[in-house]
């Protein structure tokens, strides 16, 4: 076991490049899905990762879980990179890090009953005991996610989306994980069901002390559950900081835009930021990728990729403008 104060998950300079081939033999330009992102997740901490589709947030989650190969960078789980783990460490990693997927309909094998689905992780890790013990574990896991034990013999198609996501969560809990990566786990659900599942995640974190990487495109939803939030745009983390700081005073214009994309009645920044149409790949040629959509862009933004600046309290932003004062929805409220 590594140093208990060290982060549980430490991602450094992670890069994913998809080579694009032109024609049969030609080489096309590469597509950079992840452009050197770094973040950490502490034990029992909830890190939210927000961004629009194609921003690389799911890619980051999948690489962290080692179900997708990376181009460069390091992923340290408890101080060890899955790439360099031996058999035993790897088994431990597969047990202690679990993933929950976006589509609750696609992530459960349609040919298995709930009981078979929940037994699978136990069987994979040789944790099966007597039938009675196993059954107790299954029932306990179902109970944690608020499902009755009577559902054990049902098939996934008999459930609603929210119930299926609960089954997915119960399955992840069977192995008593330290980290759960929830990749858009609530995005496919109805708003009312979303709230229930988000609450469930919060309960789990409180009751079981599980660290969660909560990936979503909806900043307000992420804000409810996360201790810290990373905002991603075109493969980079453009801002990373405490949730409250982010909602009070966003440092990056993109974060501000996302905050204002949510219904926040008394948002003074709304007038500053108009959503502008963007041409595909505009801004990727160099400089800040967000530049074409940014109302604060200056000539320098087209020249260099904004380096990450670390501000007070470990807040990080990748914006050249250090003179921006943008109010978030929590600005002016005396909270916390």
């Amino acid at each position: 076991m590594a140093d208990p104060t060290a982060p549980l998950l430490d991602v450094r300079n992670l890069t994913k490049i998809y080579p694009r081939r032109k024609g049969l033999f030609g080489k096309g330009e590469a597509f950079v899905a992840l452009d050197g992102i770094s973040f950490t997740v502490g034990r029992g901490e909830v890190l939210g990762i927000v961004g629009e589709s194609g921003s690389g947030k799911s890619t980051a989650g999948r690489i962290a879980m080692d179900i997708l190969t990376r181009s460069f960078g390091q992923v340290l789980f408890d101080g060890v990179d899955p790439l360099t783990m031996d058999r035993v460490q790897r088994r431990g990693f597969r047990r202690r890090a679990q993933m929950i997927f976006q589509d609750p309909y696609a992530s459960l094998n349609p040919r298995m009953t709930v009981e078979q689905l929940l037994r699978t992780p136990l069987a994979l890790h040789g944790l099966t005991g007597t039938p009675a013990e196993d059954r107790r574990k299954l029932v306990a896991a179902l109970d944690l996610v608020g499902l009755p034990a009577t559902l054990l013999n049902r098939y996934p198609h008999e459930f609603s989306g929210g119930q299926r996501q609960r089954i997915n969560i119960a399955r992840a809990l069977m192995l008593d994980p330290a980290l759960v990566v929830a990749d858009e786990a609530v995005s496919a659900l109805d708003v009312s069901v979303q709230a229930q599942v988000v609450n469930l995640f919060m309960d789990l974190r409180e009751q079981l002390g599980i660290a969660i990487v909560f990936i979503a495109h909806d900043l307000p939803v992420v804000g409810i559950i996360s201790d810290r939030i990373a905002v991603m745009y075109r493969g980079r983390i453009v801002e990373l900081g405490e949730t409250v700081a982010m909602f009070t005073r966003p440092r990056h214009p993109y974060t501000a835009m996302l905050l204002n994309a949510a219904p926040a009645p008394d948002s003074s920044a709304a007038s500053l930021l108009a959503v502008q149409p963007v041409a595909e790949d505009a801004g990727m040629a160099g400089g800040c990728a967000f530049r074409p959509r940014c109302t604060f862009a200056m000539p320098a933004c087209a020249v260099e990729k904004p380096p990450v600046r670390t501000l007070q309290g470990g807040h990080m932003t990748a914006c050249l403008r250090d003179d921006l004062v943008i109010d978030g929805p929590l600005a002016g409220q005396s909270c916390c």
């Binding site: 179900i67 094998n109 699978t120 890790h125």
Partner: protein, 271 residues
């Protein structure tokens, strides 16, 4: 509608199979028993319900025993080709990359040969007999299964329920056998059923051309060949084995088509 086709096929095949197994035990004739006093008896002559052939053997019993052999060869060839196809297709679909490129090009190149010539070339190398036929028919029939399994596995490999167990530490074997296979059995059953029909036809080709089941053992293909010489005076000697082959093949194809619709409704509507 398709349900009715499938049931019709089912009835045809079940009746034929039942007759093949049970009737030869009840009939008072041996398929190899020569009776030179009663040659070329037409159907419905006395105790020989379907007549006798050029050396007085009972046609009905020979037909049934021949059909039994055909069905057995068809089923065995199907089993062997399905196994080979699932193994190759499963691996290529699962691993992709070079494994897939190499194995699928092999499939393509085997498919390039006209089936009948390939079949006969292979047959000329082996010792004629039931086992050899099973072997060579499987050799020319596994590619289709392989392609279907490859496609299905590839389609499902990236689905979240597979990736989900992968993230839990599932081995390739677990993913293939426990997660993927149960979800593609439908498609496999369809191609396999159609393969039984094809195997029966192929066995008939090979035996017709003399490389299959050897005389005096009865075989539908060989009976057709024998009947050629007497086509004018005694056409039933050719018509009857042809009819049995047709019933078996059509029945199996009906089942396969019906199942195809059951497994993939979209494809059925288009067809």
């Amino acid at each position: 509608m398709k349900i009715r086709t499938a049931s019709t096929g089912m009835v045809m095949v079940v009746v034929l199979a039942f007759a093949c197994v049970v009737l030869p035990l009840l009939l008072p004739f041996d398929p190899l028993e020569i009776d030179l006093h009663h040659r070329f008896l037409p159907p419905l002559s006395g105790s020989h319900v379907l007549g006798t052939d050029e050396i007085g053997r009972d046609t009905l019993v020979r037909l049934l025993v021949g059909a039994r052999t055909s069905l057995l060869i068809g089923l065995s060839a199907m089993a062997l080709s399905t196994l080979t196809g699932c193994l190759t297709g499963g691996l290529t679909g699962f691993y992709g990359g070079w494994t897939r490129r190499v194995l699928m090009r092999i499939v393509d190149s085997v498919l390039c040969f006209p089936t009948i010539f390939l079949l006969l070339t292979l047959a000329s190398f082996g010792q004629p007999g039931a086992l050899t036929i099973v072997g060579i028919v499987s050799l020319v029939a596994w590619m289709e299964v392989s392609r279907v399994v490859d496609g299905q596995v590839r389609a499902l490999r990236g689905r979240e329920f597979v990736v989900a167990v992968e993230a839990m530490g599932a081995s390739a074997a677990h993913m293939l056998l426990r997660e993927l296979l149960p979800n593609i059995t439908g498609a496999i059953i369809v191609v396999s059923t159609l393969n039984v029909a094809r195997a029966i036809l192929m066995e008939a080709y090979v035996s017709y051309l003399g490389n299959g089941i050897q005389p005096p053992q009865p075989s539908l293909g060989a009976m057709l060949n024998d009947a050629q010489e007497y086509l004018r005076p005694d056409p039933w000697l050719a018509i009857l084995p042809g009819l049995v082959i047709a019933v078996a093949v059509i029945g199996l194809n009906f089942i396969g088509d019906g199942l195809r619709v059951a497994v993939d409704p979209r494809q059925g509507r288009r067809a």
